[in-house]
Symmetry: C2
Subunit: 666 residues, 2 copies
Amino acid sequence: MPDVMGALGRLVLGRPTREFAPRAKPRPLRIRYALPLLAPDALSSVAYAPDEILLTLAAAGLVGVSLSPWVGLAIAAVMAVVIASYRQTIREYPDGGGDYAVAKENLGLAAGGLVGGAAMVDSLLTVAVSVSCGAQYLAAVIPPIEDHTKAVAIGLVAVIMLASLRGLKALDNTVILAVYAFIAALGLTALAGGVEFLTGSLGAAPAEGLELVPSSGFTTGLTALGGAFLALRAFSSGAVALAGVQTISTGVQAFRDPKARNATRSLAFLGLACAGLLIGTLLLADQVGAVFVADPSSQLRYADGRPVPADFHQDPIWAQIAETVFAAAPPVYVIVIALVGLLLILAASSAFRWVPALMSMLAQDEFLPKQFFRRSDRRVAAHGTVTLGIGSAALIWLMGASVTRLIQLYIVGVFLSFTISQLGMLRHWNVQLPLAKTALERRRMVFSRAVNAVGLALTTVALAIVVVTKFTHGAWISLGLVGLAFWMMVSIRRHYRRVDSELKLPRGSRADLGLPSRVHGIVLVSAMNRATARALAYARATRPASLEALTVAVDSARVWELRRAWDRANVPVTLRVLDSPRREITRPLIDHITALRRRSPRDMVVLYIPEKVVRHWWERWLHNRSAARLTSRLRHLPGVVVATVPWQLDQPGDTGGPEPTSGGAK
Amino acid sequence: MPDVMGALGRLVLGRPTREFAPRAKPRPLRIRYALPLLAPDALSSVAYAPDEILLTLAAAGLVGVSLSPWVGLAIAAVMAVVIASYRQTIREYPDGGGDYAVAKENLGLAAGGLVGGAAMVDSLLTVAVSVSCGAQYLAAVIPPIEDHTKAVAIGLVAVIMLASLRGLKALDNTVILAVYAFIAALGLTALAGGVEFLTGSLGAAPAEGLELVPSSGFTTGLTALGGAFLALRAFSSGAVALAGVQTISTGVQAFRDPKARNATRSLAFLGLACAGLLIGTLLLADQVGAVFVADPSSQLRYADGRPVPADFHQDPIWAQIAETVFAAAPPVYVIVIALVGLLLILAASSAFRWVPALMSMLAQDEFLPKQFFRRSDRRVAAHGTVTLGIGSAALIWLMGASVTRLIQLYIVGVFLSFTISQLGMLRHWNVQLPLAKTALERRRMVFSRAVNAVGLALTTVALAIVVVTKFTHGAWISLGLVGLAFWMMVSIRRHYRRVDSELKLPRGSRADLGLPSRVHGIVLVSAMNRATARALAYARATRPASLEALTVAVDSARVWELRRAWDRANVPVTLRVLDSPRREITRPLIDHITALRRRSPRDMVVLYIPEKVVRHWWERWLHNRSAARLTSRLRHLPGVVVATVPWQLDQPGDTGGPEPTSGGAK
């Protein structure tokens, strides 16, 4: 069957002859360019983390919501530790590779595989979460799409996927600009909000007039235990703000020398920006009275006690804040929201950017099919891109484009990687410590180890909280997906290992033993034409010990015609006709060759097949079908080599090559 | 990309190694077996023709319906002529081939192509019409499916298609039994009806109490012109009863010797049966007052003037007749209807049976891809079967499983073939006449020519009527489909012709000219293992003028390892490493080989590629991807032969073949 998928691929990607091949090592960049290229992932997660914190706390009504800045502080504290430990990762693994390299080198390949699986699942969720959230911001400025965020989100994934198939390199400058514009816009909003707050002119969010109805468990206020549990849940949801900080440790090679130093600096800056944005957002939200709940119709009511209508639409927190701060200047509001939305979409596209790198890394360790190693090969990379696109669209569809539900899945993978990576670093220091040469070096290592130990403790606790509090909310789905990815990767690696050991040359064996004693050539013939003549000429040029031409008698008239043409052309090779009462082609040939092999098992059979090479993909339906079938069957016969002799049909210019005819006329 | 479709195919069809291969020439059968096997098509069309006649005439109310026996007689007359002329076709073309052979041999290949295209479209419509009608009969005995005939019909197509993929040979005995049971059941019904009529005990159909409302054009009765036009339309709809009589002329080879004589006899018998059934049905329908209209809610009302409800359901005519005749014995009614339904479904399956034969015939004349010629090849035949299944299901879906609408499409193709075939026979006699040796022979030929001339006149008129009266009712769709099929077939043939003429050996050229001067062997290496060693051994066994091993440096660590292993194994072939700054594999190789070819254009290059042959289809994703890619690119380089040296992985037992290692240990 012709390669239908290949034809489809060509439609999207263009002809296979063009390869888009970024050099294996891209040119290193200054911090000011490299950082924004690596930042969207981390920054975007700060855009949706506040919503999740407020949403969780809103279950306990206003009392709960007032806890939000404290939850924000706790997350910022964890972030500080995590960033400190990633700075160490960068210094110790300046070649990049991030969590995967740390896990693999310190905890073994299996741990690496687990991190790799988690990273693959995270890439799906990065896209799903970012795009779903982006669709929400879009809906905040374009109300008509409010009820269609699912379709909009899936449409956005499709657009990003197609853009990635064509290559994302061209987007670099857009990304850099968008990141700076995003930071400027959010900084400006925070600044303006702060000034308004100080001057007392800060207005109230549109939701200010609404009252929060505490959920059933919290109607009598906040008990110590209930409150603690609620705060933990809010913390675990908000911890999603940490997602993406590891990106820089993977992309150290993007920085100019001194790479490690530039990367650690960038990471520190990124951490500060994220933490600042998170706390600033929560404070402003508190001041303007922004409200974000899981289920507006049951959790919100008007001041007069009426419940809000069933189709009540709530904007994301940043939209509410910006709307309040820039109440006097709606265009500024629209621009700020558009920038947030753009950053979210670029964060999704950045996942499409690093997945090929991740897959290449995994393929190098045989966790994925080897071809993914060459990520510069566009058609190989396309498989990863399409899988990512379809997978994330499926997740969006299944979760109804609900950011809240998707985040439950997302955090598991994020913290799984964090935890394994911290454990790996701890092990790293334990191994390195005895090798320390000076007391200073030793003290530094002990300190570093302490950082990672604290990091490990914090991320383990966070992971435990996430899994425990969110297991039924969807954490089981991510755990299942990570498990599936891990199983697949381990199976692939096991297969490659088995094949390698099967193919291993016995020790001390010399390659010049076991030469076949003689070569028996066979030319497969269906008609006497130039393609056949070339195959005959080539077969004869290899001077086999014996050579015969074979044809299968499917149509007696054709065989007769072939015999006549054969005699006319004076071919110095015997034509043998195989009977085929059932009009099969493959079986008589296989039988004949098997018999040959049985007669002289030390000989080798080379079967020359003339192949017509067509120019259009649909023409492949019309040629070489029997040959393709035969080839695929013959591969299972040992001692048989299939040599295809191509004849290029319908080529502009000459067909070149040694011609079987003396005249040059075509 | 691995062959996903192939894997799917294996799921449905089983492993490709099994081939279901009926002998090219099946064992000839006695009339009593051969006739029923060829009859379902013709008989089934008689099952729905009366409905269409009555439906058309009902537009003029009861006056119109009373014309039905006359229309039936006219159709029977045409049928007599058509059958007489097909008897001649059988005698003149006893090898079978039917309309296609007649058209091709007398009117040229283009006419053959047109008949072939019409036959392909007819096969789709045979299935669509038969199955839709079968679903109606099913609904007559199982009322709950009344409103789901579309889904039922498409489901039936799917079942028949899957059964065909597994092979229909096993159904032969069922078909034979079903045909005889069908004839017996309908004969019994007619007999019982006749007896009841004569004894005055014949009841009234359930529809007897209903009044026919003439359509707007016929409220004032039947004018001469209006009546004539209506009768013509009824004739052209009822002419569908002729569909299928040509089947016997295609299947002459199924009969025992004397084939032609047995076939003509069978055809005469079949014609009598069809004509008898048609007229009998119309007479009985008239007597019991069976009514069948296009739109019950506007065309039917109760005796008291109330219109029938909107969801009024009408059974097909045969169901109404059987219900009336066997009013006293409902089980007999159910059996009769079940047999009619079964025959309709077997008629659909018979299309699945003869389409591979048709495609094989068309492929022999290069109207279809050559591989279809070998219809015994199950996987090739499967393409035709699946196309037929999907195409007919699409037609059923588009036409809402409406037999009436589908028939409009069907008749065009049927009469197009009839007309071209008659024209071909006329031409045949004109050519033969001068060659007549005796006066008797001459007279016979003149008579035969007259039969065909009358046949041509009648079928041309019928075709014209069909096209004119039904153009907007759907005839344009069939004409379009036939045109499309014709265009496709002609394009394929043109492509093959062009390739043939391009490949044609110049006259007088001797095949031993143009031998390449030297052979340059290249072994593609990615690692030093047994597969590579075998490829090296095989390449050396062919003793090329020069031999080198090539590897592409994608991963420097691997190259270093390869070099070491190479030295250790003492390979007597130089290993050349090609640089690849962009980690590509294909391009450096193509460049290298192109350079080689440019240096010595009279040489031939044989590239040996070690190929790992895996056992499971999914494992193909894991191996040989670069090689497959390279092979498909290299085919475009002239003077390069690609020889794949397979290594069978993971085989039970030994891998056989001349081993590159001396020890037998695996």
